[in-house]
Assembly symmetry: C2
Homo-oligomer: 217 residues x 2
């Protein structure tokens, strides 16, 4: 498999972690979103949406959108499972994952920054940072509200096994860390993140360990 | 089942259509996002994230996040299927669904409008409309780029059977129609939308037919 990604892409982070947890070997290619490389004709032939990640499955084709890729990996390489077995539990995990990957992350991606700091939005860098802080804070606070006090929450977001919700939580936390945004009073999130941070699959996906990343945060 | 929604909520639209396609009876309750009813303590007890939709499954609990709900319905009531059988096809459908539900829709929701037209963004209504038009246009154009010329595209987004990608496409088109935003030069999208519009499940989910909606567009 060949993974096209960007060092600080939150969606690419998710795929890197899922592949590592499942022990799937992958070769990686960097596509620089800041320099617009996703609009190069060579990459558009891979993903006409000009978005990351893209995972090439030999003999089959190209997978895009991180949540679709995670579900594909779960269906084709079920062990270790990233979703629980029961439908209600699966829905809870997917819902927590969606809170991060659909409700939070899409607001702070490079194309939104380019729009808002350009003529359409006219935000200065302070206002842009306010936007980043607002949505990351609201996202993590909503995660905290849902996780804290729910008996289905365990050592990880759902029980004591790492899974899709943890991957999506950590993927948005990775962005917050890149931009040095700290959110206070989210003890359950912090506790789960400490467990994720201790796992090799998450360590290896650290944005600063990827090709194209700056030397330090 | 009890569905909490809002007349023009794109995410609620998806659940309405999926329930109707699968022939599942549901009772609906309106939560007015414009008036902030999602922050009422009574609703926060249902969904601490203060977001729609929420689907109460008797004896089990509350499901949230439209994509998680659609997957739950698919797993528990598999017929008619909203996903194809093969993993690669399923990933394609989920990816197209994500392009709409994760990459496009979260940018044009009420909480984003409130932020951008408030002190944090300071956009006037013309600039807000520019934002809406930009992201809906880019989203539909990206769908068009992916659908057109892909042999997996059929009468609907994936083959000749209506499914999750069509539901998500129509859910974002419903928003575009509410705000009278037309996107040109998306013939494949338009052709698929015409097929969706002809189905009862989509007709019944029309925002203007829901409780709390204004009389006309």
């Amino acid at each position: 498999m060949q993974l096209y990604g960007f060092w600080r892409s939150s969606a690419t982070f998710r795929v890197r972690v899922a592949l590592a947890l499942k022990g799937i070997e992958v070769s990686q290619t960097a596509v620089n979103l800041e320099e617009g490389e996703q609009h190069d004709p060579a990459f558009l032939a891979i993903n006409p949406q000009a978005a990351l990640p893209a995972l090439v499955i030999p003999g089959l084709g190209v997978l895009t959108q991180s949540s679709a890729i995670l579900e594909y990996l779960e269906e084709t390489q079920p062990t270790p499972a990233l979703l629980p077995a029961d439908p209600f539990g699966r829905a809870r995990v997917r819902s927590l994952a969606g809170l991060m990957a659909s409700d939070t992350h899409p607001l702070v991606v490079p194309r939104v920054r380019k729009y808002l700091t350009g003529p359409g939005g006219n935000l200065d860098l302070t206002a842009w940072r306010g936007w980043q802080v607002t949505w990351l804070t609201r996202g993590f606070q909503a995660m905290e509200a849902r996780l804290a006090g729910d008996p289905a929450t365990g050592v990880f977001c759902h029980g004591d096994t790492v899974g899709m919700a943890d991957i999506c939580l950590a993927s948005v936390m990775a962005i917050a860390r890149v931009f040095k945004i700290e959110v206070a009073d989210i003890p359950t999130v912090d506790r789960i993140m400490a467990r994720c941070d201790a796992l090799d699959a998450f360590k290896q996906a650290d944005p600063f360990k990827q090709v194209g990343a700056p030397a330090t945060a």
